[in-house]
């Protein structure tokens, strides 16, 4: 033990590598970037999700480049941006480690000189630690800035961030994960995910007991991040039903996870505008003219025109609107004939699509109608109260549910309503607080900037509302009459 500990510091990288290489040789091919992969670019704590496509220009931190050179390289590789392309960089851990020590010395010197600029230098040194190229420029800029010393700590930190952004040019290519995407969205576009912070999302997945083999309902307007996070935890086992408002399910964020295709087979969606019909047993999924996109009437108008990723195979749910547009324009007789033909083709296509949609709807309805789902996860900009009261009916008893809201007040209402209504125990309204630290020799302190809030969660567990006399009876008075549910086929999962 003692021997090993002593050795650790003198350990040479070549020795380390040899030691590892000796055992358990992995197949590298699965760890290399392939064309078509969804990857995440990283610089400092800035992330961006992109798909690797040949010749496709990507903009990241105000730099344009193509990702072609990343193909075939290992995930985790750091590249330099050189004239619009990526060039792999040699790893240099020894250097950056030496940097850290030098930085420490520098700072101690500053601490002793009787001035109080310690944090400024501190922050600068922190940057050095990250071993990123281009930072020398930032350093120079800072030291030559006459106004820098007059700024507040926070202004200084922002100044550094800005300069860092502008001049550094290394990019790391990472495999996407819930961790990375949650941090990416929170950092770049919190508005798109209702300001759901990564630690709050982590808590949702855990409190929701999300795991392989279960049947989970998700209602979210977080660009698909929450849905993707749930799917990642399901690992392609079980089923996820996305309950969606408006014109179509939004799931741009799910793509970024880069799931294998079989994951998508476990994903179903159901428009919430059919929830009441399903609960009443009046949802007829056999009829041909049922309009599965009828949910436009939701308080969701702003979102309806942009079903960001309506499941590739489905095509656009706005096809009808498009053909209506064509009708209203004036045209010559020849053009009109052409157009009539086109319209017929479109009509056919539409019928096929409608049939596909109907089947999908039937499959989702079949999953829901047993009212035996294992989990419910809600994170949206809708008022959570009617959402949770409506969807909790689909859960089996003794199953967790978790509701996120950016605001506390609507969850207070949820809490009160659920208490009045019964059917749920262990209700807890929580928020959490996360703090990151700078840990450096003689300069350890919490980060100067922190998130002001990560939103609120209401969580609990369903229970049966009847006494145990009715052993295997219907779990709710609202159980739909079975005969009304004309489902023509079963669904997988």
């Amino acid at each position: 033990m003692l021997r090993k500990r002593r050795l650790a510091r003198g350990w040479l990288p070549s020795q380390k590598t040899r030691f590892l290489m000796a055992e358990n040789e992995d197949d590298d091919s699965q760890h290399r970037v392939k064309e078509g992969d969804y990857v995440v670019l990283k610089r400092g704590d800035i992330y961006k999700a992109v798909q690797v496509l040949k010749k496709k220009k990507t903009i990241f931190e105000k730099q344009w480049f193509i990702l072609d050179n990343a193909v075939g390289e290992l995930y985790g590789t750091t590249f330099e941006v050189v004239t619009g392309t990526l060039q792999p960089r040699k790893p240099k851990h020894i250097e950056s480690s030496a940097d850290a020590k030098e930085a420490g010395t520098d700072n101690r010197h500053i601490l002793d000189d009787g001035k109080s600029q310690k944090l400024t230098r501190d922050d600068i040194e922190t940057l050095k630690e990250q071993g990123l190229k281009g930072q020398e420029i930032v350093q120079q800029l800072i030291e030559n800035s006459t106004t820098f010393r007059d700024k507040t700590e926070f202004a200084q930190e922002k100044y550094i961030k800005k300069k860092k952004k502008k001049y550094e040019n290394s990019v790391m290519v990472l495999r996407p994960s819930c961790r990375i995407l949650a941090m990416m969205y929170h950092g770049r576009e919190p508005g798109k995910i209702c300001h759901l912070r990564y630690d709050t999302l982590a808590l949702m997945l855990t409190l929701g007991n999300i795991h392989a083999g279960s049947k989970v309902l998700v209602f979210e307007t977080c660009a698909g991040l929450v849905l993707g996070a749930v799917m990642e935890r399901m690992g392609g086992y079980g089923s996820v039903v996305q309950m969606y408002p408006g014109g179509g399910p939004v799931r741009a964020g799910v793509e970024s996870f880069g799931f294998p295709s079989h994951f998508h087979e476990t994903l179903h969606d159901f428009p919430i505008c059919h929830v009441n019909a399903l609960l009443a047993g009046t949802l007829d999924t056999e009829a041909k003219d049922v309009n599965p996109v009828a949910g436009q009437a939701n308080g969701d108008v702003s979102e309806a025109p942009a079903p960001e990723k309506a499941e590739g195979k489905e095509g656009s749910p706005n096809a009808e609107e498009e053909s209506m547009e064509t009708n209203t324009s004036t045209a010559s007789p020849g053009e009109r004939e052409e157009r009539d033909k086109l319209r017929e083709i479109r009509g056919q296509e539409k019928k096929v699509k409608m049939e596909e949609k109907r089947k999908k709807l039937a499959a989702a309805a079949a999953l829901l109608q047993g009212r035996n789902a294992d989990g419910l996860v809600i994170a949206s900009r809708f008022h959570p109260c009617p959402v949770v009261l409506g969807l909790i009916k689909f859960l089996a008893p003794s199953r967790p549910f978790v509701v996120y809201s950016q605001y506390k007040e609507p969850l207070i209402e949820c809490y009160t309503k659920l208490r009045e209504q019964g059917g749920a125990v262990g209700l807890r309204l929580t928020d959490s607080w996360i703090r990151h630290y700078q840990v450096l020799p003689n300069r350890t302190h919490p980060m100067l900037l922190m998130s002001g809030g990560g939103g609120y969660l209401l969580s609990g567990t369903t229970v049966a509302t009847e006494t145990h006399a009715a052993k295997i009876g219907p779990m709710s008075r609202e159980e739909p009459p079975a005969k009304k549910l004309k489902l023509t086929e079963a669904t997988e999962g």
């Binding site: 033990m1 500990r5 650790a8 350990w11 380390k16 590892l20 055992e23 358990n24 992995d26 290992l74 995930y75 851990h93 480690s97 850290a100 961790r179 630690d199 982590a202 808590l203 997945l205 855990t206 409190l207 007991n209 795991h211 392989a212 083999g213 279960s214 935890r233 399901m234 690992g235 086992y237 035996n372 089996a396 008893p397 003794s398 199953r399 506390k408 207070i412 809490y415 009160t416 262990g426 807890r428 309204l429 929580t430 928020d431 959490s432 607080w433 996360i434 703090r435 990151h436 630290y437 840990v439 020799p441 350890t444 609120y456 567990t461 229970v463 049966a464 009847e466 006494t467 145990h468």
Partner: protein, 294 residues
Amino acid sequence: MSFVEYSEFIQEGDVAIIFLGHDSMMPVKVQQGAQTQTRYGVIRHSKDLIGQRFGTKVTCSKGGWVYVLHPTPELWTLNLPHRTQILYTTDIANITMMLELKPGSVVCESGTGSGSLSHAILRTIAPTGHLHTVEFHQQRSEKAAEEFREHRVGHLVTVRNQDVCKEGFGVTGVADAVFLDIPSPWEAIQHAKNAMKKHGGRVCSFSPCIEQVQKTCEALADHGFEEISTLEVLLRVHDVRSITLPLPDFGSARPLETPTPVSSNNSVLCKTTTPPREMAGHTGYLTFATKPRM
């Protein structure tokens, strides 16, 4: 019942969580003919539990009633017998996400302790992952192994009774993630690295004291780990309450008037929340790092 799969009905040998009321629960091992005493009276397992649906309301002998819940790692964390200090759900949630655990992950953990985190890991990595958990203390490691079997997750976990700082995790090049909750995590960093897959993975160390964090961060950097990041998460549970705010009486502006009688409208009702008077102010620092491909 299993900790990685829901069942509809309660069976002999299951663990069930008896929910007695707000923040009051107890775990029971369901056994034909057994009885459990609660403050609402006796629960007879054969009649009241076996064959019932999880989530059912059970009326106890004294007429009071309880709910019988399906165990989850989170309910277990609230109900498990403490053999050591344990990790709670807020830290567990962040550890799980930040270690990028998912079905199929291979994880190394030390120490096993009371198994609070272990159950949550197993839930997440099932059905295809594996947990290698190392516990220094012999009785504790035996008890943990027994619990895993009883909770029907034994096939997903290997419990080792050894000193991780001296003997490591007992596996090499297999782990996607390593978790350390030991007094001297810096002494186990090389072992963590050895246990991990060649192409890399994530590591987490939980330590209550900042000096432990400092040494651990130094050791991680010395061993070539990247993205070293220390954080802390605290949860605040809010109590939902209706409060009455009295309105002040500034009196009448007319001179010499007698005071207005108490009006029925002299207070306002308001729904709000109050924070707990005291809450967990610190559990530990979580230090995460990435092992790069070597």
